[in-house]
Symmetry: C2
Subunit: 458 residues, 2 copies
């Protein structure tokens, strides 16, 4: 949406400097904040979260496509989370080589054996895309991944539209300013959390944010907390350690932490092995999963978000299994898939390895786990695949077609960074939120949210 | 409004610590920001502006009184600014001993001689009060001063109500939370600036913020800038140096700075001698005053805000002169006056000196100039008065009854400060905004704004 910014603005250093100053202050005023690296657990000194001086244009059709398909992705994730046979089959090989996934899977199994003590499920997902540049100059929406756990930046991105509107006005581009769409994921996420809290049915119970040890990005979460308090829903922030120390289940499996009943556990931590610093953290995770508290996500939905599942979904016939009577949904979802290839042991995986070694520049090697930032590109793919001590370790990865987005020139603003024109590659993220109550899926309509983040500079 | 916070909250260290963390983050999110002392001209690192954890209660009657009398204060300031004889008489002695006031007065005289080139006057005032504790336990609204120049914190205080609402909810005091009134001085100030800009009548002309060399409090001003841009009114920020370097008047006395026509000069700098770092700064001030740009304030309104004028107004019969047919207005204004005494040379001033030396604890010695923070209390009054090399120097001060507000227990939150319960003394500030067009006073209704600042800790 919107044309690119003309060179008379883009390449006028004095104007760009002035605009950057205005943009930083406006971002700070709007609450697009981050704590600083030197003191990530203190709010005494803060800075603006990294953002681009100008908004990143997205073709309208592609944008609407991302919103439209999000409902189907919500349904898909939710269906997968209820299909234990599918999860078992999809993850069988991964579990053998990846301890972390194996551990999560054991909790999942234990919950299945005990029987779930809570029928309400809260899902807050974010599906991330890149715009693959086609020969004819158009672009295709291609999914990078779907985050079913701790999908972030819903808070901060609620305030960036006003920052960009302001900066375009100051830059003398009022028409482009008016083209910027509203965006309020924080409100949408809070609405879903509030619904889950209501269904839990205790006015005194809290929404517990299970937070990281290092909390630089706290403001992103504070938005959702503030939205909940505005609805008179109390929230608390607790770390794994707090749950270890003061958490317990009563005879009805109600979760209490620090003497407070917990209606909803909103996991913003626990997606990486290093988040579990001791065995007690795993005990705490298990206790929360076993509890009557609504989990966001529950252990099964967590597993539904693994890369391996993403890869299995790309196989012929798999989507059809989940949408037997909805060829249109299948078509819409599949249209967003890039090529995804198994690296499991066997002839199919061997073929993937050959393909990757022959043209590593065409692919991305991705670890199964959540978290981002661990992807492997180019020559390094060869190094990793050839360097594996045990060939079975390759099962811990999947291979994906590398997407080729068109770089867009922009200024990336970040604390202390230089003000230079860069070629930026963006992701488009679409949030989806839903609450299921029992077997009757009572989906909330997905709220339409968008989010552009800068992946890297070329 | 509102009762005090009960001890079960106030004296629970763990709860207070949690509330302080939540309050700081909410203040940051809401944009209650300041740059840090170490880098006052950079927005790379910012912190929350100092504020109290809990709101400061103000009796409703006193609060409404402050809003009601503000209209009369606007009228009064504006009438004084147009009464050159009064200003001359009131400031005659001050000018002899205070170079700064003398210099302002010379500009004022030059403008009178040349004839004013702009009939539109923009006034953004803030009248500050303390609540004097009476024997019967009630409190009386007593004016500390009226700021007609660069009255600040209209921006930041627009966001503090939401911070305090939030914190009271988190503290388990939802009823008190609902009692907090809305407050939006930034919008009110911007409305008046916008009106002045409109009356100036050029769509391409800018509102120029004349800003300080050291800009820690930039965010307070950015609020008003953002409000103006929202109305499609362009703003620029310039220092005296910029005006010296690139400012000029055309043949119609239109002011141009950096090639841009200036519709409104909003002075946020220039109220202290040290703001004028060179003769060129004075030249720039004169040029702006001579120009067709609307000034906020113009030189006469600047002078109307001096302490000496405040003291003269407290003399019998003076208010009546400005409100000949409005005994009610006179009564309302006078009710807010504390005792104010001249220190000019002569029998009346001699009597004031005697009074001050006899009981210095009952008074405050105030320099004529704007700026705050320079008041003299207690034993130091004696030192200053007795230490004056030349007795005529005492004319640079006025003496005022010391007001005795009841301290309120609260936690003052400021960057890096300790979290301790303090006895806090607050001021209540009421903003007033008006635009006069020619002789027909076309006052805007004063918008009702309140603002509580912490003066000092006991």
């Amino acid at each position: 949406m919107g044309e690119n910014i003309p060179d008379e603005v883009m390449k006028n250093p004095a104007l760009v400097k002035e605009l950057a100053d205005v943009a930083k202050d406006e971002a700070l005023l709007q609450g697009v904040l981050m704590r600083i690296q030197e003191s990530p657990n203190s709010s005494e000194l803060v800075t603006y979260a990294p953002f681009t001086l100008f908004p990143s244009p997205v073709p309208k059709a592609v944008f609407l496509q991302a919103l439209e398909v999000q409902t189907h992705f919500n349904t898909l994730v939710d269906k997968i989370s209820q299909d234990s046979d599918f999860l078992q089959e999809a993850l069988a090989n991964t579990i053998e080589v990846d301890d972390f996934t194996a551990r999560l899977f054991r909790i999942h199994q234990q919950i299945l054996e005990e029987g779930r003590s809570q029928k309400i499920v809260l899902g807050l997902n974010r599906s991330d895309y890149m715009l693959d540049q086609r020969q004819d100059g158009t672009s295709a929406l291609k999914q990078i991944e779907i985050n079913t756990f701790a999908a972030s930046f819903g808070g901060l991105s609620s305030r960036t539209p006003d920052v960009h509107r302001h900066i375009l006005k100051v830059a003398g581009r009022p028409e482009e300013s008016r083209q910027i769409l509203d965006n309020n994921p924080a409100a949408g996420l809070a609405r879903a959390v509030a619904k889950a809290w209501e269904l839990y049915g205790s006015e005194r119970a809290f929404v517990m944010f299970l937070v990281e040890e290092v909390q630089r990005n706290i403001f992103d979460q504070r938005y959702v907390e503030s939205e909940l308090w505005r609805r008179n829903i109390p929230t608390i922030r607790k770390r794994f350690d707090d749950v270890c120390g003061s958490g317990s289940l009563d005879q009805d499996k109600r979760l209490f932490v620090d003497g407070k009943e917990v209606a909803v556990v909103y996991f913003r931590n626990g997606y990486m092995p290093q988040n579990y610093t001791s065995e007690e953290c795993w005990d705490a995770r298990l206790m929360m999963e076993r509890s009557r508290a609504v989990k966001c996500p529950d252990i099964s939905t967590h597993l539904a978000g693994t890369k391996k599942v993403q890869q299995v979904l790309a196989r012929p016939g798999v989507l059809e299994k989940f949408f037997p009577d909805q060829p249109e949904a299948v078509k819409q979802i599949r249209a967003t898939f890039a090529g995804l290839y198994t690296l499991d042991m066997g002839p199919e995986g061997d073929q993937t390895v050959e393909m990757a070694l022959a043209a590593p520049d065409r692919y991305v090697l991705k670890p199964q786990r959540e978290g981002g930032g661990n992807n492997i590109y180019g020559a390094e793919i060869r190094q990793v695949l050839e360097g594996l001590k045990d060939a079975t370790q390759r099962t811990a990865y999947i291979l994906m077609d590398k997407i080729n987005p068109a770089p867009v020139q922009n200024y990336l603003l970040r604390q202390g960074g230089p003000l230079t024109l860069s070629n930026c590659l963006s992701e488009l993220g679409a949030f989806g939120a839903y609450v299921r109550h029992g077997i009757d899926a009572r989906h909330l309509l997905p709220h339409s949210c968008h989010f552009c983040c800068i992946l890297s500079e070329e």
